[in-house]
């Protein structure tokens, strides 16, 4: 289904979704990030990209799995599978949209994670195509994506200056468009041509090249023991920004957090974990198979471009560029992959 949404009617559409929790990019504290849309919020879709990707809406930083307590000396567990309101996220860039199917695979392939899916099923992602690369480090096209890809999205909007072209892609997407009712207008004859023009112009902007998927995977496997990794990781500080900001990184830690005065009351909590932290692979014996930063950098790059390819036949990197822009010391995944492939 295709519609036109004039920009001044965006709020009208959002207001019809009053049973949804709606999130949109907002500029606060000098960064763009997702924020809840309240009655008085002025929705601003002029963002470049948000600092945090949308994975947090299905895979939050902190998820309580169950509560435990002792009742008359007997342990009792109370599962806390979330039952969220339907959630709508506006302004999702196609690179972030493409990241969601990777996460969906991980959380369903061998075991369907009930916590992830309880949220994912209620999540509707409304994408906004990129009319130009928004960061100096975008490279979606080099990894099989595009500035107007619909993969992982429920709706795709394209900015046509005074209006948006809106395309429903999935059932969930069609439903939210239907709800919008007369906030939407019909598509006119030249709208399609204009959308195509905008998309083509976006595609034509140069992006940093990444070698083809199989060549990169092969090169990483061959260069596994190369001293190159140590050289490239020389200044890595193991901070973890690259991983936390990545739309597809999904490693987690489990902890029991005691909340009462005795050990028998608390919560089992899943939190994000980070392969760049030194304790990530620390064994209780004290041995650490990835004790040095070179090994951890190699792990991350290999996971994105080799292991995920081998396990799921798709790259795990969508070219959003956050890891590059966010890295305090300039470690650049495109440059890393390039060096490894050329060696």
């Amino acid at each position: 289904m295709e519609k036109i949404l004039f920009k001044e009617k965006l709020r009208q559409w959002v207001d019809t979704l009053n049973d949804y929790e709606v999130l949109a990019p907002a500029f606060a504290d000098s960064v763009w990030d997702y924020a809840r849309v309240e009655a008085e919020t002025e929705i601003d879709l002029s963002h470049t990209n948000t600092v945090n990707p949308p994975k947090q809406f299905a895979f939050p930083q902190r998820e309580v799995f169950f509560r435990f307590e002792r009742v008359d000396g007997v342990p009792r567990l109370t599962p806390t599978v979330p039952d969220p309101k339907p959630t709508l996220v506006l302004g999702v860039r196609p690179c972030d949209g493409r990241g969601m199917p990777c996460n969906d695979t991980v959380f369903s392939k061998e075991y369907r994670d009930p916590y992830y899916w309880a949220r994912r099923e209620k999540l509707t992602l409304v994408g906004l195509a990129c009319n130009e690369p928004y960061a100096p480090n975008c490279f979606c096209q080099s990894v099989g994506g595009s500035p107007h890809s619909t993969e992982g999205l429920d709706v795709l909007m394209t900015d046509l200056v005074d209006r948006f072209h809106v395309r429903g892609i999935t059932e969930k997407g069609l439903e939210v468009i239907e709800r919008g009712g007369d906030a939407f207008d019909r598509v006119k004859d030249d709208d399609a041509a204009e959308v195509e023009k905008v998309h083509a112009a976006a595609r034509s902007r140069p992006q940093r090249p990444v070698a083809e998927m199989d060549a990169v995977a092969k090169a990483i496997r061959e260069q596994f023991d190369s001293p190159l990794w140590e050289e490239m990781a020389r200044h890595c500080i193991g901070c973890g920004i690259c991983t936390y900001l990545c739309p597809t990184c999904h490693c987690f830690d489990m902890n029991d957090e005691v909340t009462g005065p005795n050990a028998g009351t608390g919560e089992r909590v899943r939190t994000w974990d980070n392969c760049q932290f030194p304790e990530f692979t620390m064994h209780t014996s004290g041995h650490n198979p990835r004790g040095d930063l070179a090994a951890r950098l190699r792990q991350r790059v290999a996971h994105k471009f080799l292991y995920f390819v081998e396990n799921h036949a798709t790259r795990q990197c969508t070219g959003c560029g956050r890891c590059i822009s966010g890295c305090p010391v300039g470690i650049d995944i495109v440059a890393v992959v390039d060096r490894v492939t050329r060696s």
């Binding site: 504290d29 945090n52 480090n137 005691v258 495109v334």
Partner: protein, 344 residues
């Protein structure tokens, strides 16, 4: 004016003559406009060294890394490491020397003066360019910075792009050095020292809590602030307490009641413990390089926590961080005149 060619020549010479085992400096990055840190060991690599307002990193951090690697090496190289250091970076080295992290002869400091201005704040630059990408930023003396973006070159007044910590900087050249490039620069008259912390404490108590509650809530616990700080060199950070000795006889009760200063959960109370602990552990040690705030992905104004304590140290205890590495540290010394009236 810092003569970059002279800097490169000296670096090449030091490496050629084997006076330093390696040299940490800045070079052009592969992505974006910011310079990135580099460690060179061959004299030929000295050509790649740069010095411009995008040289944000505090290279003292890599001295800490070097020292950790040397400590673990079976046949350590005893020669010093060369490091390019701005005023703030040299004060970081001074604190590390004060704490005997390494000895004075272990480091050779190539000091660089901040050309009358300082380094830029990349967020201010990107906000100003509204989506256009900068390709280059150069010093333009006291007038500010020359910014090249999309084929245009603009002269931007210093105040609009300078990092906040540069605005408050009391000494924009490295007093501690083995060689100094550029002139000795002290205060530049942009802002008074500690301006931001002073302004922040004017707000009401409730307003202050509302602000910090929001910041602690936004924290994702990536720990980049800790990773980028040269003073956070503890091999195991107190908030990460992971290495408890577990034996087959350790009961579940014992494991559950072990001291955990803060939980992994990234919520307000736990993140507050982390940030407040870190601020206190840096009291009298933070030289305001501003890196913690720069690297924070969600832009928490971390500088405020640290400069607040440095301001107290300065006003109440007459203590200036990084001034004199032979002086005892803030918290290991005291004066009879230290404030007492807050104690009942």
């Amino acid at each position: 004016m810092v003569n970059v060619d002279e800097l490169r020549s000296l670096a090449a010479e030091l490496l050629e003559q084997g006076q330093v085992r390696s040299l940490i400096g800045y070079r052009r990055g592969t992505a974006g406009v910011l310079a990135e840190p580099c460690t060179i060991a061959a004299p030929g690599e000295a050509e790649t060294l740069v010095w411009d307002p995008t040289c944000l990193n505090n290279l003292a951090l890599f001295l800490v890394e070097e020292r950790k690697q040397q400590a673990a090496a079976s046949a350590p190289d005893k020669r010093p490491v060369g490091v390019v250091a701005k005023g703030c970076d040299s004060r970081a080295v001074s604190v590390l020397l004060q704490e005997n992290y390494f000895k004075r002869e272990d480091v050779f400091i190539l000091g660089v003066s901040c050309e009358g201005t300082g380094v830029i704040d990349p967020r201010k630059l990107s906000a100003r360019l509204k989506g256009r990408w900068p390709t280059r930023v150069e010093f333009a003396g006291e007038d500010g910075f020359k910014v090249s973006a999309g084929g245009d070159e603009t002269l931007v007044p210093a105040r609009e792009l300078l990092a906040d910590r540069c605005l408050e900087c009391r000494e924009a050249s490295p007093r501690l050095n083995d060689v100094l490039f550029g002139e000795v620069v002290t205060e530049r008259g942009f802002d008074e020292p500690f301006r931001a912390a002073k302004a922040a404490q004017e707000a009401t108590e409730d307003a202050r809590w509302a602000t910090w509650e929001r910041h602690f809530d936004r924290c994702v616990r990536c720990f980049a602030c800790r990773a980028v700080c040269p003073m956070c060199y503890c091999p195991e950070c107190v908030v990460d307490s992971t290495t408890f000795v577990n034996t087959p006889g350790t009961s579940a009760e014992e494991k559950a009641t072990r001291i955990r200063w803060c939980e992994r959960s990234a919520n307000v109370s736990e993140s507050a413990v982390y940030h407040l602990t870190r601020a206190i552990h840096l009291a009298g040690r933070c030289i305001d390089c501003g890196e913690c705030e720069r690297v924070c992905p969600v832009n928490i104004p971390l500088r405020l926590l640290n400069t607040k304590l440095e301001m107290e140290a300065f006003q109440q205890f007459e203590y200036e961080v990084g001034r004199d590495f032979e002086r005892p540290s803030l918290l290991s010394s005291f004066r009879d005149e230290d404030p007492n009236s807050f104690i009942r």
